[in-house]
Subunit: 614 residues, 2 copies
């Protein structure tokens, strides 16, 4: 049926409630009451405002719907049933079951879901990224609708998102906050004080509309207003958790609990029984995204021996890769340090300044890639720790994002430990499906940056502050998963493995060892994940399992750990001499700090001598 009247919509809302109860009771887990509070709003939205071609979720003109309160998945999936794209049987037998696409919290395994949610405060920031794409890149009139919970407004990331939404005048974005007063453990901080919410929203530059979230007419009017607003709109809807079933409505203790069978039956009765209505909402007007023509990618070329920081090579290479029209870049207000400013100069229209808000930096990238763009986001490597939850969730979102972290390790010198990334390799390696690149020179940095654009998943490049000699000619290839033997002889006695600045220290160590008549093989492990196990095994075999691994990172989870894992996975356990940063560093020159950490050339050479028994 094509829903027309508010009475029809009320019926749909009751169906969404009933189905939310039914599917969660059938699964024995889930959040029915958090679904029931928002059912009226979603019923109005899907019938009258969401311009969406359910048969063609890849239609670029479609609106976008994101459940930032991902735990309301029963409601979302019940909407999918009402849209006719998920069967009642699937909803009742597959929700939260093993191997099902109807997971406990939404993921893009479902074609109508853009991003995974469930870690609160992320759906709205992601939605800002989608809206950026709509307004500034696709130049299509689609709207982004985000359903938020009230509890999640305590997350700072919500305010980072609204701030950026207002800054970028994203009038195509509407957040609907389901102010049902009750969080998981009891009342929320602001309870039903929708005016307090509204004041905050307005102060952050967005348009606030306060409504009764169960009044279909008010909802309809608010959604219409939102579609016409000049700024992003936040609808603050006063609702009642568990709305429609008197036993649980507005009662504590019912978060994340399915109704027992007997209660479920009474609830369904009170809600007017089961319904199996399929509804049709508005379709998007036909539209094609703006075409951003591709130019030719001409990577920067560096002279052997010239001293060039890898962060600069990254910046120049990403500017070159930006010749491809779908490449975009995002800065955390440090682009003169990360050298992402090179992209800004070359492609200002595809450059987004996110200021100092690293959570949003990653979230906006996730939103942009929803629309097929290839985002590069850059900040200091240390500050990506701020966004770890967002990076982790990006994997569940099946997002393809590229992150560049500069200023890694003690090598940065006088700024001190707050600015030194010493945990980033561990953090990024532990992300499922991630790729981690760590170039030592400008040539490899440029080539690896180019490949980042081609690679799916979360791709991280770690760059170094200081300028070190170019080691490779401009036409050398650096396949992801490879490595380079930078120095070798037919009778190498020991292998020195490094990446970034420590590779240069390894080379200097090899020189020192050569003075002693010791021949060292030096391996550039520029691809930390995936790792070149074959090259590691060959080096081990060539040098009698004598291996020194040196990293400008804490000892856990970084380069040394990657090497140990590779040998272990290959069934060839090897003892490595593992030089890493083991004490909390302070300020100093790079040389002083590397010496203090025990990762200098002299210390690498000594570790090699120790392995050789001398």
């Amino acid at each position: 049926m094509t829903v027309q009247t508010l009475d029809d919509i009320h019926e749909l809302a009751q169906q969404l409630r009933v189905d939310s109860i039914r599917c969660s009771t059938s699964a024995g887990s889930g959040h029915p009451t958090s679904s029931m509070s928002a059912a009226d709003m979603m019923a109005v939205l899907m019938t009258r405002h969401l311009r969406y071609d359910w048969q063609r979720p890849d239609n670029p003109a479609n609106d976008h719907l994101i459940f930032s309160k991902g735990h309301a998945s029963p409601l979302l999936y019940s909407m999918f049933k009402a849209a006719g794209v998920v069967s009642d049987e699937e909803l009742m037998t597959r929700y939260r079951r093993f191997g099902s696409r109807l997971e406990g919290h939404p993921t893009p395994i479902l074609p109508w879901v853009d991003v995974a949610t469930g870690s609160l405060g992320q759906g709205l920031p992601d939605g800002v990224g989608v809206a950026l794409a709509g307004r500034y890149l696709d130049e299509l009139p689609y709207r982004v609708w985000v359903l938020c919970g009230d509890s999640e407004t305590a997350e700072g990331s919500i305010w980072e998102a609204l701030d950026k939404a207002a800054f970028y005048h994203l009038r195509n974005l509407t957040a609907i906050v389901d102010v049902n007063r009750l969080g998981q453990r009891g009342p929320t901080e602001l309870k039903w004080d929708v005016d307090a919410y509204a004041k905050r929203v307005e102060a952050f530059g967005c348009h606030a509309i306060v409504i009764d979230g169960h009044d279909l007419g008010e909802i309809d009017k608010a959604l219409s207003h939102a579609a016409e607003a000049e700024q992003p709109t936040v609808i603050l809807a006063r609702t009642r958790k568990g709305r429609g079933f008197s036993d649980v409505e507005d009662r504590e203790g019912w978060h994340g609990r399915p109704l027992p069978q007997e209660m479920a039956e009474r609830a369904i009765l009170e809600l007017g029984g089961e319904r199996h209505v399929t509804v049709t909402g508005p379709l998007p007007e036909a539209g094609t995204p703006r075409a951003w023509p591709d130019g030719e990618v001409s990577l920067p070329r560096y002279e052997l021996g010239a001293k060039v920081p890898t962060r600069l090579a990254f910046g120049q290479a990403v500017a070159a890769v930006g010749a491809r029209g779908n490449v975009v870049a995002l800065d955390g207000e440090v682009d003169n340090s990360t050298h992402l400013e090179e992209f800004a100069k070359a492609h200002p229209e595809r450059y987004f300044e996110i200021y100092i808000a690293e959570q949003h930096l990653v979230a906006a990238a996730v939103g942009l890639q929803v629309r097929g763009y290839i985002p590069f986001a850059a900040t200091f490597a240390a500050f990506f720790t701020r966004a770890y939850d967002f990076i982790r969730m990006s994997d569940i979102s099946q997002a393809n994002i590229r992150l560049s972290g500069s200023h890694c390790g003690v090598e940065i010198g006088p700024d001190g430990p707050s600015q030194m990334a010493l945990e980033d390799l561990a953090m990024m390696r532990a992300v499922h499906g991630s790729t981690i690149l760590y170039p030592s020179d400008a040539t490899s940095a440029a080539h690896l940056t180019a490949q980042m654009a081609e690679r799916d998943g979360i791709v991280y490049i770690r760059t170094t502050r200081g300028a070190y000699p170019v080691l490779y000619g401009p036409d050398e290839a650096f396949p992801v998963g490879g490595s380079k033997v930078v120095r070798s002889s037919p009778d190498d006695q020991v292998t020195l493995i490094g990446a970034g600045v420590t590779l240069h220290n390894c080379l200097a160590a090899a020189d020192q060892l050569a003075g002693d008549g010791i021949r060292a093989r030096v391996v550039d492990l520029y691809s930390v994940k995936p790792i070149d196990t074959q090259a590691l095994l060959e080096a081990a075999a060539a040098t009698g399992d004598r291996i020194v691994v040196t990293e400008d990172h804490y000892p856990e989870g970084g380069l040394g750990s990657a090497v140990l894992d590779a040998f272990n996975d290959a069934g060839h356990p090897v003892h490595i001499s593992h030089l890493a940063v083991r004490d909390l560093p302070g300020s100093g020159t790079p040389a002083e700090l590397m010496e203090a950490a025990g990762i200098s050339a002299g210390q690498i050479a000594q570790a090699a001598r120790d392995l050789l028994g001398g």
Copy 2:
């Protein structure tokens, strides 16, 4: 001299500017212009409002001063010189030098510094924690003054902090925002729109005062007002970066750049030359913190074989440990899941609800421990990823905080991957000086929780959702750094290592293997860091280096990695059969998901058989 007049204070402000220039020029790095914009405010503060006994930084009645804009360290250290506690010589020869306490960004190596800053948006949240201690625990009238940058207000953590400051009515907290319009790369998002800032601050429930940050009289009045306000105060001070030296004042391109010698000389001339004034500000009134008497800690006791979730044992144990008067707890609105609610019931006066704001959860804990309290903060293990930058900085702050993460791994079942901690061990292990505990049963969880209170640094306990049998009698000891051999015989053939749920799977696997006549040793590796290397070596020796390690975590950086590192560090490389979660999980039952991940009892038994060649 005792400063009295505004003219005197102006002289002090000029001295602070001159010294900021001198020390950064001498070091060849640093942020003089970011210091010069705030010099007038700090001069008024330290002479007339900051009640601080510079000779007794441990005086509990002292006010607290936190530079959230840690890069203004030249200004802070110049204040220390003006207070007479750092010599001009130290400032000029040691700033940012190797081994110096005057690091690039402030750290508590200095007795007048509470917390490390330098990652923006953290000093204010930390300050909220100190103010919580002052108002609700110490019950002393000290004030917390926090100098913020304008760029860092883009961090959501600033708004989490102001939200909590208002919620807890922290009228003892004053933030001073140095709105100098210029960030690192150019103008900030809001530039000099101090009214926009004020609107946000008021909307978040704090008292906003807008001033000219270079008008000493206005500054003085604002600081006096702040001391009398009923709510936390945020002073929004319009300033000019590089104020006082016309060549750089309000000019772009001078962030984080010391003045070259020649410019420095002209700047000092323009600022009226060098001065070496020492000033005395107000002293605190004598006061002693409220005494929170200690009761007797009586740990919960569990019956062997009873099924008790480790998260519940944590909650009951931390409630018991709360008998010690200086133990406090903080919840991220999930205390009915983490079972921190047990503490809330027992000790409501020392319980802080932070709602869903994990960054603030950790920051408030850091602030509370500044005043000697022993904070336990709990949320889902997965959501500590949200606070990784704060955890990383906690180490630099020399903070002693205890974190409890529940719902780890695929074992949680139907909620799906967004709620599963699968990277937390890697993340926490990589933090310098961290301790990581991962109990398998209620008894060990309780004992380890008790020890957390005693242990310095960042101490993390990982707890499991489901209920599993109690394995140990109530009087068993579980030293940090130890392990337990749960099953063994004189002729064990293989070692099975697990922790948490996988230990129970290892025990079931051992039963299966016993059916085949294979004797397996089972090791409970409850202390992941530090790790019991001796026990690992013994197990390896006893079982012919045949070892299976199983973890409910991604393969990188977790339990398996800790074991490999331990063997490597001991110089005894061992191949381990490493069972871990290698694919992105979905929803399902715990048993289905563990089977799918390859970490079930049957799969452990098979891995053992494979090691035994059959």
